[in-house]
Amino acid sequence: MSAAETLASSVRADAPPAILLERVNKWFGALHVLRDVSMQVAAGERVVVCGPSGSGKSTLIRCINRLEEHQEGRIVVDGIELTDDLRSLDAIRREVGMVFQSFNLFPHLTILENCTLAPIWVRKMPKKQAEELAMELLTRVRIPEQAHKYPGQLSGGQQQRVAIARALCMQPKIMLFDEPTSALDPEMIKEVLDVMVELAATGMTMICVTHEMGFARQVADRVVFMDRGEIVEQGTPQEIFGNPKTDRLRLFLSQILRGH
């Protein structure tokens, strides 16, 4: 708690935002998934996004590393505007790491190979150096002993920690998490959240879609509540969870509390 608070205060308001979204709109066919979404994330800030299923949370963060293309508005990541230009795309993907709900490890590669693939082929890092880096990060997520196994031989929690290490191996400035613990058995959620809390303490810029309120309270500088493609409310965890202003948020909170 205290570590997170001191870090929270270290976020500099004058620095250019790490992520800037201006009136972003996105449709899937006729379905309007993002409606005029505007948001700023400062460097080092940790934002938790929550909201009912289908509200556009995944789409929002997938737009930030351009796994999805937005149709209107502006998205600027680390000073680079997301356009059709392929070079800007390359640059963004190097800066932004992503962790998926379903891990998406490469099953035909060992854990170590999963982690070194992108550093070697995208960052052109020598193999040995990439392996050292990967082992360092695997140690950080506390599974260095699994390095030579295949993903299929690991538990869900272990796989998700590998996925985090794999993303970190690209030494990104920003990390996106899309419900990283939703596919996990309850007893494995904590091991993944612990790793994420530690990562937050290093000052990494993070956007994390999650319903883990404990995690949000502990690390989030800001909680963003989305519903039906809109940002309905945002504020500190205390404001959002303790003092919801809209009916939609109150309804959502009562639902996830009942769920727990």
């Binding site: 590393n65 796994l67 390359d90 993907r93 190097r94 932004v96 790491g97 992503m98 998926f100 379903s102 998406n104 490890l105 490469f106 099953p107 035909h108 693939l117 992108a118 082929w121 995208v122 295949y150 993903p151 299929g152 031989q153 794999r166 993303a167 690209m170």
Partner: protein, 380 residues
Amino acid sequence: MNETAAPTAAHSALSAPRRGPAQGGKAVAWMRENLFSSWWSTAVTLALAYLLIRYAASFIDWAFVKAIWSVPTGANGLPDTTSCRDNPGGACWAVIAEKHRFILFGTYPYEEHWRPMLVCCLFVGLYIVSAMRRFWNWRIVPIWLVTLTLIGILMWGGVFGLSYVPQERWGGLPITLILATFGLAFAFPLAILVALGRRSRLPAIKAICVLYVELIRGVPLISLLFMASVMFPLFLPEGMNIDKLLRAQIAIILFAGAYLAEVVRGGLQALPKGQYEAADALGLSYWKKTLLVVLPQALRIVIPPLVNTFIGFFKDTSLVLIIGIFDLLTAGKTAFMEPHWQAFGVEVYVVLGIIYFIFCFAMSKYSAGLEAELNRHRRR
């Protein structure tokens, strides 16, 4: 089964020490379960056993007991096959003894048969080396280039004191191996490109690939071979001519390519979307993503249908006989054309069948092993 067996086992464990099933009893138990479980199953088993034994016995009788292995040379200097003809109940393996070199190497000059022989050995060696995962890296490229150059030198000759043998005289097993090896070696990469192209976002590329696959698949290989041998030369400028073997080879490559492309596409589609997204999110470019993440997984998934198609095409190369190319099957058919051998086609076909079987069975066995090994990572 196990659940119901467990309580009884627990009960008996209280009264008497548990015994494992007796070794000898296993076979009996298996037979009782699989062959004699009911009167109906027993009847079928007995009927099939009767047929099996009867036909196996008469085959052994034909192939070995009553068979004639060699024939004397007649007064006219030709083999005298009367003993064979007077023996309709037995095989006449003398035709193989007499004609095996013609069957294997066709009309290739007799004194030079060591050359196609060596070529066949080189091909087999090439298959074995290519099958070893140790060589699945850049080293395989020079190995193939050197082997294929050697094969070309041996077949054509004209250098290093080897006499020149024109392509019209090549025949038999080397032709089959050349058509199959080059056919699949070129068709496979082509198929991968076409399969990727069919999933391309660029409409032009996609349309070309769809058109290619649908056109080729809609036509039998025979007509494609005819087109290659008869129509294709008409389109070429006067005086320019691509030889018959190469034309057949191209037809086979195009045909195999279309079928393999669909197999590969199946593998691409079976891959979860998350794999593409993870590769994208890591910043891998299209080709790196395809080569490092997508294809290694997609191809593993389709090993069984891929090998199925390979085996099919190995045998389909025999269709070139209709445009007069002298492959193994054509050589075999020609071998018993002479009047005194005419009655003994079955023996030749049995031997041809065995040769094809050896190659196809080896492929099938190898693929089963490869599949097990490559998919090890899926096991928990």
